[in-house]
Symmetry: C2
Subunit: 340 residues, 2 copies
């Protein structure tokens, strides 16, 4: 069984965008009023949006199950206020729930949090709990920069985040550290902001005692860990200079996905990071949609790169399945219940 830990509903039907557009229009002109009820989306529209995209690629590339969350760049936590983010997160998460109901063998849900700049992360705990307890989700995407590229929130090691971490620990769910769109003209979203956030989060973990306070808290750093594996020696040296524990200590709580779109990068990832800490992920449909004109293959078909490595059967099993089931225990329980 092959689990893809990183998939987004980037192909959601137009009704979702109409809902968001109405929400944002009402922010600009309160006379318009925020949309009420749910986005207008039929089950057939959901099927159509997935059959030709994520499900087609699952079949073609040979993965079985995607840990599926709302479009990351669409979270837009910097827009509006807490009420905006809560309404939008609920709408996006409810839509993911419907996807998982229609295709229970193919998708398991991970939620978007109703974060908003200046609002305590504790305020996101209720939506996380709803998604896990009522919708059967197995984790969340946590945005380390709800400001969208101005980095005005406290670092992930700050105690402001602790109530949310307490809820994560209580529910036994991990978070993928994932920013949303950048509204800072300096940062291209998928080409800079995403990778910078990954790098930044790792260094925040390295310099803090967060995991002493929460020994079972788990984070997945996506996009192959940003710059981290490439600069593994820098991080080992910084940990040593700063009299921090060796990186291996961090690896009890921090995991990386395989969203690195070329073989040399994936080779490096597996050379420096233990297989125990790598979860297969493709980010599809995602950051890079094209076919490489030189190879005729999709850039984001990361399974091809992983398959090209000379992994032991044990490591292969970890990366494609066992690690995900360990990091997301609720996924494991769900799969076991279904005899998978």
């Amino acid at each position: 069984m092959i689990i893809d830990c990183h998939g987004h509903y980037t192909t959601a039907p137009g009704g979702l965008h109409e809902f968001r557009d109405a929400q944002l229009a009402a922010l600009r002109d309160p006379k318009l009023g925020a949309p009420s009820g749910d986005p207008h989306i039929s089950d057939d529209e959901i099927r159509e949006s997935l059959e030709k995209a994520q499900l087609k690629l699952q079949r073609e590339r040979g993965s079985d199950l995607t840990i599926f969350s709302p479009r990351a760049s669409g979270m837009g936590h910097h827009l509006g206020n807490e009420a905006t983010s809560l309404q939008w997160a609920r709408a996006c998460n409810d839509l993911i729930y419907r996807v998982c109901q229609i295709y229970p063998d193919n998708f398991v849900g991970v939620c978007q949090l109703p974060q908003s700049p200046g609002v305590a992360p504790a305020r996101s705990a209720a939506e996380l709990e709803r998604c896990v307890r009522e919708l059967g989700f197995v984790g969340c995407n946590l945005n380390p920069d709800p400001s969208g590229g101005y980095w005005t929130s406290p670092p992930l090691s700050d105690r402001q985040w602790y109530p949310l971490y307490q809820k994560m620990v209580e529910l036994d769910v991990p978070a993928m550290v994932h920013v949303s769109a950048s509204c800072n003209p300096n940062f291209h979203g998928t080409g800079a902001h995403y990778l910078n956030a990954d790098t930044t989060a790792f260094m925040q973990f390295l310099t803090s005692d967060l995991f002493k306070d929460f020994p079972t808290l788990r984070f997945i750093i996506p996009h192959g860990g940003g710059a981290v594996p490439y600069h593994w020696g820098r991080y080992r040296g910084l940990a040593q200079d700063l009299k921090r524990p060796p990186l291996e200590e961090l690896l009890k709580n921090v995991y990386f996905d395989t969203c690195v779109y070329h073989l040399p990068g994936v080779e490096l990832l597996f050379e420096v990071v233990p297989a125990e800490n790598i979860l297969f992920g493709s980010e599809m449909f995602g950051a890079v949609r094209g076919i490489d004109v030189r190879t005729g293959q999709y850039y984001d078909d990361t399974k091809r790169y992983v398959d090209a490595l000379e992994l032991s059967e044990a490591d292969r099993h970890k990366v494609y399945s066992a690690n995900a089931r360990r990091v997301y225990p609720r996924l494991d329980a769900l799969l076991k219940k279904n005899g998978r």
Copy 2:
């Protein structure tokens, strides 16, 4: 001959710090008055600060010449105002000049610019010209984020930067893209802010027509290019999706150093980036000062990693010497004048 393109005067004598402290104290309490004149530093103090550090490591590691600039984290463009930055840049650059006068065989100068948040980059052109024409410097460090981690300036592709680029082109000097200290608690300096800035700058170049407007403008992206080589496939794919020219076009103007502190990272760099675009650099004395307890070697002895690669003699020559002489033509002229 082995040229190290990336060295900072991180061991400058205490007189420089006293000067800066007085400057910053006067900002807090104008009654104190800004320091006048130059920092109090003797030639012997300069010799002592270098003999036991950079010069010792040059000898031990076997490099001949370092392209030398003021301490990057000390630039602190976010502190004070334009006058503060100008006075501080002049003091730091004049000190580098003295270093290069005392050790003309070992150091060639690169200057700090008097950038300040909200101040037009054009205002840095005069100090660049002074350093190049009067002090014999061969390039500059250009800070893409003078705000120190809040990224409030326009991207490097913005026309606000053009007058400074015009001066660089006129003087035929390149810039190393190099941020200073971070005052944003989210970003550790050497563990996040530096690498993020490298990644960010590359994507700004990729998405702009800057090098159409300045075909001879040259940038060195330090720290091995941040996250860029590790994510080379992502950047190739993004360039294709965004209908931008292939990355090879960018490589006419953009170079990377070798400040990657482990062999797998340096191997990856050379696997994806042509040898024509890699300049040997160590960042010493720099970001990571320790000795790896596992190998007994300094993390930042990047020459060991480059030497461990199976490079052709031609590529080795490019990386250690020829590329630096090509990217810094004033360095080449200086060396030729001295029969080197």
